[in-house]
Symmetry: C2
Subunit: 338 residues, 2 copies
């Protein structure tokens, strides 16, 4: 394990913003992008916290990301809006998307927003948390770069393709990769000479292995066999094909053609669906119903619910600061010129 230091969230925000501005972001983009990293650190999700800064900076420096993009929302159908990202880092475009889709969901009952030409590198739960806090439900999904072998196959084709869902009232949110294991976890196992979790992936011959180097050369596996594979496929269609954006395989070819394989996120789309529970026929009852449902669920011995760990971490980390690897903190401060 690398040495970590405790850093106050305000300091992480200050350093991340400065580094983003130095790499070419305007204020609006720097604030939005730093915010998603700080919120991940606040909830103990190091893998989507400051850990992502070097990738963001690389994609700004290579010219793949437009640090001065001003994403614009345009209505496309009564229930569909499209946010043209202009190659922005995703966080600012996702703000624009939330602002556009929320009134539409209230007016229509359900609405979708296609966020296109953005570079998405953050946690999906952070993209829907604001909608859920405002009383809306949401689905969100995005493709990535090819790293997961479809069920039966042995070469990477699907991205790690995360899927998030949120429901208001109890503010229930989950967010998971359709890959069995986060790619970062396999990379860290390789670095530390530890085996990868069972089921994480296959070698170049398609044989299951726990050798992290063999998996990184071969392919990650989807979670849950053919069912997780089907969800990953769904996400390629919804966040790629449906909205005229690259699938994971296409994103990788585009990066190669443009010479921007910089380790940062690829250009692509995000698909978000928002709905208003007050418009589905049980406006008077759904909040109490949700409360009773979660009370009964939480009473089951041993049960673990998504998001609970994040909520527990939140108060402690806000007080104590986040644990950041010293090397990463030093790198961030250098990038910020601090």
């Amino acid at each position: 394990m690398s040495e970590t230091v405790r850093i106050a969230l305000a300091d992480i925000d200050r350093v991340a913003r400065a580094a983003l501005v130095r790499a070419g972001c305007d204020e609006a983009n720097a604030i939005a992008t730093s915010d998603v990293m700080v919120r991940a650190e606040r909830d103990g999700c190091a893998s989507h916290g400051l850990f992502r800064l070097p990738g963001y900076l690389a994609s700004l420096r290579s010219g793949k990301a437009n640090g001065r993009a001003a994403p614009v929302a345009r209505a496309h159908a009564p229930g569909v809006v499209r946010v043209e990202g202009d190659n922005a880092l995703a966080p600012l475009a996702m703000q624009v998307a939330r602002t556009a889709v929320a009134p539409l969901a209230r007016a229509q009952g359900i609405a979708a927003v296609a966020i296109v030409d953005v570079l998405h590198f953050s946690a999906l739960w952070a993209d829907i948390e604001g909608l859920v806090a405002d009383g809306l439900g949401a689905f969100c999904m995005t493709a990535y770069l090819p790293s997961v072998a479809p069920a039966g196959a042995k070469t990477p084709f699907f991205g790690t393709n995360p899927f998030a869902f949120g429901f208001p009232g109890e503010a229930f949110i989950f967010d998971f990769a359709t890959a069995a294991t986060a790619r970062g976890e396999i990379q860290i196992a390789a670095r530390d000479g530890r085996p990868a979790p069972a089921g994480a992936g296959v070698d170049t011959d398609g044989r299951p292995t726990r050798d992290p180097h063999a998996i990184l050369a071969g392919a990650q596996s989807p979670f849950g066999g053919h069912k997780g594979s089907a969800l990953a496929l769904m996400i390629e269609l919804m966040a790629g094909v449906l909205i005229g954006q690259p699938t994971s395989a296409e994103a990788a070819r585009e990066e190669k053609a443009l010479g921007v394989c910089d380790g940062g996120p690829p250009r692509g789309g995000v698909l978000m669906i928002a709905f208003d529970p007050d418009r589905f026929g049980d406006a008077a009852g759904w909040r109490a119903h949700a409360g009773a449902f979660f009370a009964e669920l939480r009473a089951l011995p041993g049960v673990r619910l998504p998001g609970d760990r994040r909520r527990l971490e939140r108060a402690r980390i806000a007080r104590e600061g986040a644990a950041v690897p010293r090397a990463l903190w030093d790198e961030a401060r250098r990038a910020a010129g601090h």
Copy 2:
């Protein structure tokens, strides 16, 4: 294995309809309900074929299902319609739902339909196949009776809660239970004296087992650990809480209170979302894009896509008839008075 007989699909349809009518269905309900069983048999999905007839009949005989229900669609918001099922077997209500939601999805881009007070016992892919054939995409989900232990817990709380997705163009459809294994498969293993698939569930002490009887007494497991468990939870919220319908646990209590634990499906809701890919900003491109995506995916050695087995079976079974256990066929014919 029990002895099977080859039965022409037309004969299955004739016998199933007659049995449903004798148990109290009017023509419209009998035709719609037989149709979903015949389509399952046509595609080699025995677990959703004639295998379901005894459950349908039991729920009609107990008075839980209303065989003469006339489900009605009512607009609820510009993008939301509600189908009041009047305790119908689901198939007729799902027909009404498709007819109501399709024009709404075309007009709005995306629309939802809440099907309430129905008894759902069929394959979800059959519920969305018609929409996909008509050029729409769809999500569909429904809760059931408590049979799956949430991640970490060991008592049944979630239903087997299936989730289906369809995308037009290539007419791609998947449909899976969020349980590791379909309950019908475990029931068939119990009937035939075979072990259940590994990972299918736990005994009453929470220990993993492959004894199908022990799993039916204990709890099924969700597929893919905490991720599948999160999806099952999402479905309880969407097909239950959101639309004022019983969650799986509530459905079981209702059955007990009403004295209708008849082995048939419980009263509950189905939530379907339909969308029109022509309204998402790439009307000119998405069909060709989908074609290229699937061509590349299918070219991967070893790859297996959802629905492929069904499509392969279809032509053969239409020609040869479906393999039906003799005891089930005899039972169906007796119920039909044939």
